[in-house]
C-alpha cells in the first residue's frame, strides 16, 4: 500500500519535502513505518523523539496503518 505522510519542523527539513509517499506492506504498523523512514533518512535517528499521528491522534507503535489514514510524523514539539 502507498501511504501519504505529512512532515513538519526538523523532519521536513531532513527529508526535504512537506509530503512523502511511502510504499509499505498492507496493514504495516507504526513501528514498521518508523523503521522504514529511518532507513531511508538516517539523520532521523538523531532526533530526540519521533512520534506518529494517525488521523490527528498520537498513535501506538503496534497500530496498523491503512492507505486512507492521514499520517503525520511528529518530531519533538516546541510550542508556547
Amino acid at each position: 500500500m502507498q501511504l501519504n505522510i505529512l512532515l513538519f519542523g526538523v523532519t521536513k527539513e531532513i527529508v526535504g519535502e512537506q509530503r512523502l509517499k511511502l510504499e509499505l506492506p498492507q496493514e504495516a504498523s507504526v513501528s514498521i513505518l518508523l523503521q522504514s523512514l529511518k532507513q531511508n533518512y538516517p539523520a532521523l535517528e538523531n532526533l530526540e523523539s519521533m512520534l506518529v499521528a494517525v488521523n490527528n491522534e498520537y498513535s501506538e507503535q503496534d497500530q496498523r496503518l491503512q492507505e486512507s489514514d492521514e499520517i503525520a510524523i511528529i518530531p519533538p514539539v516546541s510550542g508556547g
Binding site: 499521528a53 519533538p76 510550542g79 508556547g80
Partner: protein, 142 residues
C-alpha cells in the same frame, strides 16, 4: 460574556489579549489567571533575530481542545482560552496566551500552569530559532 466554556485559536495574525480576557469572563469566577508567552531575545547567550512557528493545524487545534477539557476536568474551571500564534514572530511578540477563570485564585494559578506546561509537551507546534549566524529547530536534538 461568551457562552463557550472552551475557546481555542491558532492564528497567523497577532494575538488579542482583550479577546482572550473576554472569552474567560464569567459571573461564577473570582479569579482569572493569564499566561502570556513572548519571544525572548536570547537563547543561551546567542542573539535571536526571530522565531518561525509551524503548526500541524488540524491536530494542534484538536490537542488544544483536549488539553483545555482535561484542565477543566481537573480544576473547577468556569472558562478557559488558549490562543496560539504561528508564522514569523519577532522579539517581544506574543506567541501564546492562556487564560483560565475559576471561583478562587489558587485553582486558577494551578490550572493555568498545568495548561502551558502540558501544551509545550503535547501540542504539535514547532519553532525554529533564527540567530544572526544560523538557525535551529528547538528541542529537536538531544
Amino acid at each position: 460574556m461568551s457562552n463557550k466554556k472552551i475557546d481555542i485559536a491558532l492564528s497567523d495574525q497577532p494575538l488579542d489579549i482583550k479577546a482572550v480576557m473576554e472569552a474567560v469572563n464569567d459571573g461564577s469566577a473570582g479569579a482569572v489567571d493569564v499566561f502570556i508567552g513572548t519571544v525572548r531575545n536570547k537563547t543561551q547567550e546567542r542573539s535571536v533575530v526571530r522565531l518561525e512557528y509551524e503548526a500541524y493545524d488540524s491536530m494542534a487545534i484538536k490537542e488544544m481542545e483536549k488539553l483545555a477539557a482535561e484542565t477543566a476536568n481537573k480544576w473547577p474551571v468556569a472558562k478557559i482560552a488558549i490562543h496560539h500564534r504561528k508564522g514569523t514572530l519577532y522579539i517581544g511578540d506574543i506567541a501564546v496566551i492562556i487564560a483560565v477563570s475559576t471561583p478562587h485564585r489558587q485553582e486558577a494559578f494551578e490550572a493555568c500552569k498545568f495548561t502551558i506546561d502540558t501544551l509545550k509537551q503535547r501540542v504539535p507546534i514547532w519553532k525554529k530559532e533564527v540567530f544572526e549566524d544560523g538557525e535551529t529547530w528547538v528541542a529537536a536534538h538531544p
